[in-house]
């Protein structure tokens, strides 16, 4: 657990990551709040808040008497969100660091293309 | 919105808890006193046996020696030990009981009931042992531990029972008061109290001597007799108990 950010946010992010990665497919059941809390060794109320965030965002929904399930279309929605944030979270810092090191934008693009080629092969 | 606590459990239950707490470790309340008494008894028996063996075997000498035994104060140690029990109970059990959520009032009343109960039980045992003592002719050596002059040799058993009970209560009461004083005021307070008490007693004795009043004191006690004296002691016990109550009401279990 990252000590400098609210834990409930980190819980929500973990679940989101699992949904995006496909570990938690749509319409499958998500572990209960208490299970999360016990597994991660955090306060159940905090875990509940994280799950609550996702329920509010429509990523999870509650089936009465059974538990929490991943909503239909959740993955697509999350992917769209992450794409929007990609620029601020990854691209901007990348360019700032490149500037610090004196790497031009054209070099950055070349680096990206080369690295991609290596990954693909 | 405020959460409210449900009603308290009944008083009898809470007092019962305090009483049970005092008895929780049978060693302190029963076994150690029993050991102490047994030890005192054993030592006394040896002394009686030695003296008896050395006494010429005529009825007069034997009667004399047996009568002498009745003045022995050995039996008093049992009562003094009750004071020790009360002091220890106050000191240690108070912090424990309060730590577990008992109120001071419940603890004081519960302790009082415990001591009264113990006093009653011990008194009965004491008188029974006195009967056994008489029946065995002084434990086979003419000894006298439970038939002491201090409780009235020729009084009926129920009067002696009252005397013994009163004495047990007295020592429990002053023990409780001393214990309470220690809990609240610690060693310094206790020393201060005893200093004042000693001065008071010495002062009182001096006053009586100077005014030549000792004979009056003697007459007074002769008039009230043993029973009267023990009845008066109950008043002192009540005062000591009250003092303990008032002192403990503002005491804290702080170490």
């Amino acid at each position: 657990m990252d000590e400098s950010r609210p834990i409930f946010q980190q819980i929500a992010e973990r679940i989101e990551n699992d949904i995006i990665a496909g570990t938690l497919p749509e319409e499958t059941q998500v572990p209960s709040t208490n299970e999360f809390a016990a597994f991660l060794r955090i306060n159940p109320a905090t875990a509940g808040k994280g799950v609550g965030l996702l329920v509010e965002a429509g990523i999870l929904y509650k089936k009465r008497g059974i538990g929490m399930f991943v909503a239909a279309g959740a993955r697509d929605r999350l992917l769209a969100e992450r794409r929007d944030r990609f620029r601020d979270q990854y691209v901007a810092p990348l360019l700032a660091e490149a500037r610090k090191l004196g790497i031009t934008s054209r070099d950055v693009v070349a680096l990206i293309t080369d690295t991609q080629k290596e990954n693909d092969s | 919105m405020t959460a409210i606590a449900p009603a308290a459990r009944p008083l009898s239950r809470r007092l019962g808890n305090v009483i049970r707490l005092h008895m929780a470790n049978p060693f302190t309340i029963f076994l150690t006193p029993l050991l102490v008494v047994s030890a005192i008894f054993a030592i006394n028996w040896m002394i009686w046996w030695i003296i008896r063996t050395l006494t010429p075997n005529d009825p007069d000498s034997v009667a004399n020696v047996s009568a002498g035994f009745q003045y022995s104060g050995a039996t008093l140690w049992i009562f003094v030990y009750m004071m020790v029990i009360a002091i220890m109970a106050m000191n240690l059990t108070f912090s424990f009981a309060l730590g577990f959520g008992s109120t001071r009032r419940d603890f004081i009343v519960g302790s009082g009931l415990t001591f009264m109960g113990l006093a009653a039980a011990y008194s009965v045992v004491y008188i029974l042992l006195a009967a056994v003592e008489a029946w065995t002719g002084g434990w086979g050596v003419g000894g006298s531990m439970f038939n002491s002059i201090y409780f009235g040799i020729d009084s009926p058993w129920w009067l002696r029972l009252f005397h013994v009970f009163a004495l047990f209560v007295f020592f429990f009461a002053i023990g409780s008061a001393f214990g309470a004083m220690y809990v609240r005021y610690k060693a310094r307070g206790l020393i201060l109290f005893f200093s004042v008490l000693s001065i008071g007693i010495l002062g009182g004795a001096a006053l009586l001597t100077v005014s030549g009043s000792w004979p009056a004191v003697g007459t007074f006690f002769a008039t009230v007799g043993f029973t009267g004296a023990y009845a008066l002691s109950l008043i002192v016990s009540a005062i000591a108990g009250l003092a303990g109550y008032l002192i403990l009401r503002r005491a804290t279990p702080r170490s």
Binding site: N34, P44 | A5, S95, F96
Partner: protein, 298 residues
Amino acid sequence: MTAVVEVRDLTKHYGKVHAVDGVSFQLEENRITGLLGRNGAGKTTLMSLLTAQEFASSGSIEVFGASPLENAAVLQQLCFIKESQKYPDDFKVKHVLRTAPWFFPHWDQRFADRLVTEFRLPLDGRMKKISRGQFSAVGVVVGLASRAPLTFFDEPYLGLDAVARQLFYDRLLEDYAEHPRTVVLSTHLIDEVSDLLEHVLVIDSGKLLVDSAADELRGSAATVVGGREAVDRFVGTREVLHRDGIGGLASVTVAGLDDAERAAARSAGLELGQVSLQQLVVRLTSGTATDFTEELSA
């Protein structure tokens, strides 16, 4: 929001020393609250006042809607596990476990038995003779098994090894999830318990410094590290919690940076360090700034 404890202007002084100084707060039902602060800050005194074991000098305390003083109805709902608990002479562990159920109406014997095995309590050990760790373990077992609606743990882990401590946290969380109750945990091992806490109270020299949700505190501070000038320029007029520095390097802990400000710091070439709950509390309560350059040149 249901309040279980309401404290207003509470003060306790011993002679000239104010152990608790004008403290006001509320404790919400069924929450795990951390009571944090340095040694001697007033944590134990505060808990002793709430459990009516000490008498307040002034101010008001309401527990379950009433004053806890000599109040059996309130007191039977409380459990206060303190490190300095006194036991009668000759009391063994088994005596404590035998007598505890009498005082706690919600006691769960099966839970207690399980905990005794897990913590390896020596049932025949004398309370005066067992090790510090075992002594604390007894307190932990009683506190957990009591299921008291308001349970106080005053530095319950003293002497407990890391395994036992983790066991305590695990069992506490587990039981709290199944049977919610209000728990107050005082500690200075903040990092260990920080994930358990929902709410945080920080006390320093008898005064309440912080009364907030744990999640709000997390992320409420960040450490900015970089060249002195760049750092000072970025910090500007922000609230500074702590200043550290050596040579041309400065490390300043500031309160509350949002995402935009963080991005700005990064693009200014500054590094952002995490500030854990423990570091935050240490910064708030230490009140000292270290600048080694000044010390070196002095």
